[in-house]
């Protein structure tokens, strides 16, 4: 029997819990095992059908449909259709599975003659036990073969979320991930950590690869950092979520071993969408969003720190009966924000070439009633796949994005202007009243400072997959990620605080070049029966990373106008820097399987990095990172009780590294001007020619399983991590002759944690599906050795420190000793004490979803963090600046303290000492409080219009869905400050503090999606 090439393509026989998809070539419409000669002699039939998503009704391509025990199977096409021929007649068990969705098995009676039609619906599962994941090798691996936990989020999950960026996607939906803080301004990104803080001097953020190529994902240095501003843009937040096919979060050293040095903090792999053979399939989205900042500050204050209402006095200024002179005519400093997003993509192609093209534009105006605060984004992507040759697949992925943000000059942006007055002007202009404010709109003038940032990022990657033999695969990823940020801060001529005006230009450029080759060879094991399998993998990676920066500060504008930096009289600072570093390595890995039940994987990676010291590379040349993993599927045994369905235990150990910063291995000198205008050299950095990477060693054990016909999926992981050779700055003893701190590999710290998730399909019939899912994670990272000086601690910022024996980072300060007292003056400890960790050790989420008639959905998502300590900068600085805090407790305490200081010894009677500390002293430690919160993170509802309605519309529409999405509708907290999840500062900062930023706004989005 001959089969046309365009219809059939040979594939490996599927396995029980999922088959090897052989990745990128997945364009087949149908698959049949043509060599199954004996089957041809039997009575056979044909099975066909459509696989759709349970939630959206959309057809699902690439679903692996297989017939158990026959070796027959195939992939669904772009329309979700599958076709399997030569199926033996009689009852057959059909299994359908897709990455990110639950597996479904049904019994079907195959008859000869007419094809048997059988349709499947698959549901997205929050906890996924099966499917392929990328592990750094050429083929990827099935989950049952992998010893470490890997989280995965699919495009369908993403499309159902009211998210603005990737960080929103990861927050609470991926185990082990902590997203620190929540954006309050359009364009802001957050800090992402995997399994807690991992380094003192190195990077703590995971590496991010997009289509196999490393990308700039971190916060820009100037943004929220050296250029002021209260929040920052990140590379990760710039990715359009609707371009994403799936995200894999790879945690733990065992997983990241194959990524080598720099991967100690974990890896996030993002895969963008690709085309599929068939006619062009268009998808268009229109989003309209409104945002609203609720009440600001204490509920007792009807003015909301004069942000919500600046027309009268409020608790802090009860005598004020007329609007502040600066108050906008609307009577509030806040306004309704508005966002609009339009994107369209098209995918399609032929057997040989497929394409996915997308573009999108969005603009969001923020919530401050000044300036044009807000952000605009433009995205363009083109992904192409060439399968001209049967054994060779080439994917080319290109993208460009441009983001323009107008930041609000709050927080540090104003603090730097005038630390005692302008700082308050963001949140309240009441401070002006003390100075006899005149109607000159000084707040508006303060806000006249412009902080604009434009980020451009281009990413190009080529993924070449060559399959010379069915069991021998080569994969090559080559790519370049180029990004730059241009940030201007301008105080115009006539600026209230600096009438001559200033302007700062900060430009950063980052480039990542990735070259990644891997090959895998699958076979049995010679001398052993077919129960034994092996996959040998080898490969090597090289990456070059360049950072370039330039900054110029000028002052004294020559007059009003929109000046360039050239137009100013003085350059007060000019600075440029560049570093280029290289990393390369090889790996060898062997995976051995037995009965598709037991898998043992051992690997070794050799790595070198140009930031290592010369002596280190001379003596060792390569650093070796080993890994070993094993998994065992208990439920494959006959004795396994059916009630318990499937269960797999796993264990993994691995090592990975974090390199020192550039230049630390070098002895460097600085030039200086001596007297008589002589040039002199002074030693700048003693250098450390033996400097090497931090080595992170991590164990994890886990259990995954399902119960009740797959209705309950669960996973649990426990891990322990130890970092040795930690990079810390130490002072050499003076007798060493050097007087400069230098980095040395003497630190150590350790972490432990657990991660659990449960996904329950509570009710499921043809009309109604109810599911719940929950996640809980706990992490504790504790400092061991920080320095060669046992008395040392390391100040991170905002009273947070790394300190030996203490969780890292911890909030440390002098502590109120009589906080439960009444009528007493505050008494503080003589030495600094630990308040608690500044990162939340506990995080949990709970999701609840209902699907009705396969087209109407309701989803809610709660997030909670607790166990950490947070201080509030806004409140503490308002107290210190003698403005006060508008709660009755604070107002009473302040009055009592004033009376007491005036000689009334009885004035403190009945006043809580804690209130005295917070409201009259107001240091950061006085406001350090548990930052626990529970938040109703998202609420969504979607409705997919009946297809028969849609098809009647002109224009060839196939599907239309409308979604209502809401974020941040409600939260609960005991935190006394502004908001426990609105954090001040750059996403690059390790320290955390609340205040100086607006609370995260409530977001309401209407999304209409059309497929045609």
């Amino acid at each position: 029997m001959s089969v046309p090439k365009f219809l059939f393509r040979w594939r490996s026989p599927p396995k029980r819990m999922g088959s090897r998809l052989h990745g990128a070539s997945g364009i087949a419409l149908t698959l049949a095992l043509l060599t199954a000669g004996p089957l041809l002699a039997q009575q056979t039939g044909t099975l066909t059908g459509i696989v759709t998503s349970r939630g959206t009704g959309s057809p699902l391509p690439d679903v692996q449909v297989s017939i158990q025990g026959t070796g027959l199977g195939g992939l669904s096409n772009q329309d979700g259709r599958f076709l399997i021929i030569n199926v033996p007649a009689g009852e057959q068990t059909i299994t359908a599975q897709l990455i990110g969705y639950g597996t479904i098995s049904q019994t079907v009676n195959i008859t000869t003659g007419e094809p048997v039609v059988f349709d499947f619906t698959l549901s997205v599962r929050a906890v996924q036990l099966d499917g392929m994941v990328v592990t750094g090798t050429a083929t990827g691996a099935e989950r049952r073969e992998v010893g470490n936990s890997i989280d995965l989020i699919t495009a369908e999950q993403i499309e159902a979320l009211p998210v603005t960026n990737v960080e929103d996607i990861l927050r609470g939906r991926t185990l082990g991930v902590t997203v620190s803080g929540q954006a309050s301004q359009p364009g802001a990104g957050q800090r992402v950590l995997l399994r807690g803080v991992n380094s003192v001097e190195g990077r703590n953020e995971p590496l991010v690869f997009i289509d196999g190529v490393r990308m700039m994902s971190d916060a820009w240095e100037g943004s929220g950092g050296s250029m002021g501003g209260a929040e920052s843009a990140t590379g990760l937040a710039g990715i359009d979520p609707r371009d994403i096919e799936r995200i894999e979060v790879i945690k733990g050293a065992a997983a990241s071993t194959l990524y080598g040095t720099e991967a100690a903090a974990g890896v996030i792999q993002i895969f963008t969408k690709r085309g599929r053979p068939g006619s062009a399939r268009w998808t268009a989205n229109v989003d309209q969003t409104v945002t609203r900042v609720g009440h600001v500050g204490p509920e007792e204050d009807p003015t909301g720190l004069h942000m919500n209402d600046c027309t009268f006095g409020g608790p802090l200024r009860p005598d004020q009966s007329v609007p502040d002179p600066d108050c906008p005519s609307s009577g509030t400093w806040l306004k309704m924000g508005h966002g609009q997003k339009y994107d369209v993509n098209v995918r399609g192609g032929s057997e040989d070439i497929t394409y996915f093209l997308s573009t999108g534009w969005n603009k969001e105006v923020g919530n401050m009633n000044v300036n044009n605060d807000g952000a605009q984004n433009f995205n363009l992507r083109g992904n192409f796949q060439f399968t001209t040759f049967q054994d060779l697949t080439v994917r080319l992925n290109t993208s460009y994005r441009r983001q323009h943000v107008q930041w609000i000059p709050m927080g540090g942006g104003l603090m730097e202007d005038n630390s005692n007055t302008a700082r308050e002007s963001l949140i309240q202009n009441i401070a002006w009243l003390d100075e006899g404010a005149t109607p000159d709109n000084r707040d508006l003038l303060a806000m006249d400072k412009e902080m604009t940032q434009t980020v451009q990022q281009m990413n190009f990657s080529a993924n070449i997959s060559w399959l010379p033999m069915d069991n021998f695969r080569h994969r090559l990823n080559v790519g370049l990620d180029h990004s730059n940020s241009l940030y201007y801060t301008s105080r115009p001529w006539g600026y209230y605080d600096n009438p001559e005006g200033t302007r700062t230009r900060d430009e950063e450029i980052r480039r990542f070049l990735t070259l990644d080759y891997a090959s895998s060879f699958s076979s049995g094991i010679p001398g052993l029966n077919r129960d034994f399998t092996s996959v040998l993998s080898a490969g090597g990676q090289y990456s070059a990373i360049e950072d370039q920066g330039m900054r110029v500060d000028v002052n004294t504008a020559v007059g009003p106008g929109n000046w360039e930096t050239d137009d100013y009289d003085n350059i007060t600072n000019y600075n440029e820097d560049y570093s280029g570093r290289h990393q390369g390595g090889f790996f060898l890995q062997g995976q051995f399987g037995w009965k598709n039940r037991l898998f043992l994987t051992a690997g070794l990676r050799a790595d070198s990095h140009s930031n290592f010291g010369d002596e280190l590379t001379h003596d060792y040349y390569f650093l070796w990172y080993p890994k070993i993993q094993t998994t065992y599927t208990l439920s494959d045994h006959a004795w396994w009780p059916d009630l318990w369905e499937t269960a797999r235990i796993r264990m993994a150990y691995g090592e990975s590294g974090e390199p020192p910063p550039p230049g630390e291995s070098l002895i460097t000198w600085r030039t200086q001007q001596g007297d008589e205008n002589t040039l002199v050299y002074q030693i700048n950095n003693g250098g450390n020619t033996k400097i090497g990477p931090e080595i992170t060693k991590e164990w994890e054990v886990g259990l995954d399983g399902s119960l009740f016909l797959g209705r309950v999926n669960y996973t649990a992981t426990a891990y322990r991590r130890r970092t040795e050779d930690g990079l810390v700055y130490v002072w050499p003893p003076s007798s060493n002759g050097l007087e400069e701190q230098y980095l040395r590999n003497i630190g150590s710290w350790k972490a432990k944690g657990i991660e659990t998730a449960l996904d329950v399909l509570v009710f499921d019939n043809i009309d109604v599906q109810v599911n719940m899912n929950g996640r809980y994670q706990w992490n504790e990272t504790r400092m061991g050795v920080l320095s060669n000086d046992p008395t040392d601690d390391y100040y991170v910022g905002w009273d947070q420190r790394f300190k030996p024996g203490v969780v890292m980072p911890a909030f440390l300060d002098w502590k109120l000793q009589n906080e439960d007292a009444v009528g007493e003056l505050p008494v503080y400890s003589d030495t600094m004490e630990v308040y608690g960790p500044s990162y939340p050790p506990h995080e949990a989420s709970l999701g609840f979803g209902v699907t009705l008639w396969n087209r109407l959905t309701f989803d809610t998502f709660f997030l909670a963090q607790w166990g950490h300590i947070l201080t509030d900068l806004q409140a503490s600085y308002m107290i210190q600046d003698d403005i006060g805090w508008p709660t009755s407790a604070c107002i009473d305490a302040r009055a009592a303290r004033d009376a007491y200081d005036g000689g009334d010894d009885t004035a403190l009677t009945g006043i809580k000492t804690k209130d005295l500390a917070m409201c009259t002293r107001g240091y950061r430690e006085d406001w350090a409080s548990p930052g626990d919160f529970i938040r109703l993170g998202t609420v969504t509802s979607s409705y997919r219009f009946p297809e028969e309605w849609i098809s009647r519309l002109p224009g060839g529409f196939q599907q239309a869905t409308v979604q209502l999405q809401a974020m941040n509708l409600w939260h609960w907290t005991d935190f006394p400050g502004m908001h426990p999840d609105a954090l001040y500062g750059s996403a690059a900062w390790v320290d955390r503090a609340a205040g100086f930023v607006l609370p995260p706004p409530k977001r309401f989005t209407l999304n209409v999606r059309l497929n045609f």
Binding site: S579, R581, T668, G674
Partner: protein
Amino acid sequence: MNIRTILRRLPALAVTAAIAWTTGCGIETEVTGITADKDISRPDLMHVLAHGANLELSHMHLINYAHFTAAATDEITNGYNSSGSYRRRAVNQYHNRPDWVYSQANESGWVAAYAAERMTDVNEANGTDPSTDPLIAHMRINSALAYQWLAEGQCVACVNWGPEGGELLKGSGDIYDPGNVVDSDSIMTMAITWAEMGGTVAQAAISAGRLNEYEPGFEHFIPENSLYASYAIQAMGYLWLEDYAKADEFAAKVPVDWAWHMYSHEENTWRNRWVYYSNQWALTTVWGSSIGTTFRDVEDPRIPWTVCGEYKEGLTVGGRRRSSSEYDRYTTNPGCQTYNYYGRYRTYDGDLPHYIQRKYSSWDDELVMLSGQEMKLVRAEVALRNGNLGAFTGYINDVRSYHGLDPIDVPATAGALEYPNAEDDAWSILDRESLFTLWLDSRRYANFRRWEHPFWTGGHYKTPDEALDNAGQHRPKYMRADGSLDWCMPLPDGEECNINPLVRETQWCQRLYEPGGG
């Protein structure tokens, strides 16, 4: 070659490229804005390196040394919040000022030695003779000076880079190579050795005719200067070690008009700390010092100072800050400042009348580190110890004559050191002449230690404030290596004790001798 062939070969090319990169073909981090160690091994940069070594030696911490030791002796009175504390407590581990001196002395010694090593290598690479290189001689003197000061200040110190060599910077295989404890005599011995090395090279440079290898204005690189410095350091060293004959021998080789200044300051307001302390901020005052009390009426060009403010009659320093109305102001007197807070007539803290020192009044005034005048005083002391009062008087008069002062008569007796100074016997004359000649040049602290000066042994002057606050307290002593006690600087906590595992648990890092316990 078709595209398929090319694509098929891509993996192999990639592997080859990766191997090439990771096996050392240019895998180096490139960082701009730095001067790497390898960049400065050029003959034309050796002067720059030498300037840098000079700057380390004269860095503010060592200039601080002059201030700190002056306040710890009777040279000057320290105002502001450390008022009297150096004098009352001398030093304890909590003071960061002696920490800075300690660390800066170590760094200065090392940097100069490291520079000399590099200069030797560069000379050899360029076919020139390092044994006659004036810059190397100068660097050896720098190391010797640093160690001389370390010995004079410390009872014990940790030392790593001795003149006996070893591979500099590498130590015992790690850059992080802390030193072991040695006593001040041993440190001084090292200083002498380094001075000998410098002298040898300087002598060879002179013999080789390398007399003019310096930039205009930097005559201190003249080998003759290094040679005299070598003699002077050895004289001071042997005096410290109580080998008076050798001290006299080397002191005799130095002409009275020769001096070694604190060269190559940073070009900023730190470069002469006396101007900073007394003129700009009025942190110090001559009021209450020996010069402001015992020798208040002495007219001597070596100790120029001016009364800029005075308590009103009947007022003394008290338990509270004096208001401005309680001062008589003489700010129009020569040298008094007309700017800056209280500095016009009282110290910055407002507590003390400002008697401004005028020995150093310009940022460009160079402090004197070594001088022929001091060598005369060394010889005078040796003569005095030998009972030769005539010779003693001759050396004293050499100094006085150098300053245009009338000679003194031969004293009747050798006498003894007293406080306040009795002014009539030979020891009192030596004490006075030494104070006047070396005033504010960081030299008196060492003499006080050697002489066990009565100012330190209970008879010291107390300001009324000190008397109120610290009645009966003595300065602490710290342990010498032999277990005996001495007035000196302790091993600093932060700089050495906490981070040098070789001494962390030893007796020198135990706080056995808290302030007031001596």
